[in-house]
Symmetry: C2
Subunit: 227 residues, 2 copies
């Protein structure tokens, strides 16, 4: 099975990291793959475009079946290989409801507040054009968002949907890890800190950790002192 | 089952419409519900906030189980009531892969190009501040996006994942219908036009059509002549 799979991916891309965690959790470690360079525009290369006309990462195939959207790959792997490796969507309906809710909350609300509103403001606005007041408001919203997740973990303790690692963790953790790399002061959130250490210890996370993060610290840490 | 369900929703909201289509397709028509008024800030009312601290629409419960994220409600309903009504996630893995891919493409790429980039530009930029060149570029991207979906339907004919209506249609159609309401010239896209008519004829769509769309035409049709 893993032998029929192929993933094109970029290092540090959250949409790539999510299905990479899922691939490891489902027991497909060692799948064939190609790390592409965004700066060399390899995601617009002929081999990628043949499978993924949008030229986006990730691009994935399992035998003849091509699935490219990050969340779709995750759902495809879990539904197709339900009995293999970690069960990522719980059978119990209340736990499943919680997992689904947290998956999509991470994908929508957390992505919005942390990435699109706050971090992209730093990435896309020149330093001299940034407004103190806007940063303050966006950071406040991002902190409020982080405190929600801090509260969720206060209820469930170990993982986001309960005592087991689920798809909710595979979808949430990459945002948290990116925030930490960008200077988030995670010690201020004790539940998130314990969760971060717990998830970091999983073999799936170690095996899929963005390689360039291991080699070099972030050049900028815009969240420092803010979140 | 429908008797234990309750949905808070807003008229014309795409995140609300998606699970409403699913509720009808799964055979839960007649579920209890409350149409809330955004302008009266009813989504921030005490009854909503008790179930959904974010105060967002939709807000849904099934007995004691609360699920609020639009996509999570859809997935919860399909996975919990798999054998009831229309099967929305195909059993065949190739068809399922296609359905999942199109669901998330609609949620990501189509939402981005049509709504966030183009329509929100009209909604959020004063007429005198709009730049002709920006509109031209955004409209070109939205047309390119619509042409992708036109092509997808050229391959599958009836519905997005094949001959049957699936979750991909429940996630895609509300964007298409909104685009048509906003002035999209759907006659220029023959596959999309046939698809639109086919989906409009479904009882689930008739039962969930935004009530204020029936009563009043859109005040503005920014997509006219553009998409």
């Amino acid at each position: 099975m893993a032998g029929d799979m192929f993933l094109y991916w970029g290092s540090g891309s959250i949409p790539c990291w999510k299905p990479m965690i899922v691939l490891e959790e489902k027991g497909f470690g060692g799948y064939k793959n190609k790390l592409i360079s965004f700066s060399n525009k390899e995601h617009k290369g002929e081999d990628v475009l043949k499978l993924n006309p949008r030229g986006q990462m990730p691009t994935f195939k399992d035998g003849d079946i091509v699935v490219n959207e990050s969340n779709a790959i995750c759902d495809y792997l879990e539904s197709t290989y339900k009995d293999k490796g970690t069960q990522l969507i719980p059978s119990d309906k209340a736990q499943r409801a919680r997992a689904l809710q947290r998956m999509h909350e991470a994908n929508n609300n957390l992505q919005q507040k942390l990435m699109l509103d706050l971090l992209y403001y730093f990435f896309q606005t020149k330093e001299e054009d940034r407004k103190e007041e806007e940063i303050k408001k966006k950071a406040e919203d991002a902190r409020e968002e982080m405190n929600r997740w801090e509260g969720y973990l206060g209820e469930t303790k170990a993982f986001l949907a309960g005592s087991d690692f689920t798809m909710a963790d595979a979808w949430f953790f990459p945002y948290l890890a990116f925030a930490v790399r960008m200077g988030m002061e995670i010690e201020k959130y004790p539940n998130l800190k314990a969760y971060y250490d717990r998830v970091c210890a999983r073999p799936s996370i170690k095996a899929s950790w963005p390689p360039h993060w291991k080699d070099e610290p972030a050049k900028n840490v815009p969240l420092k002192g803010l979140v």
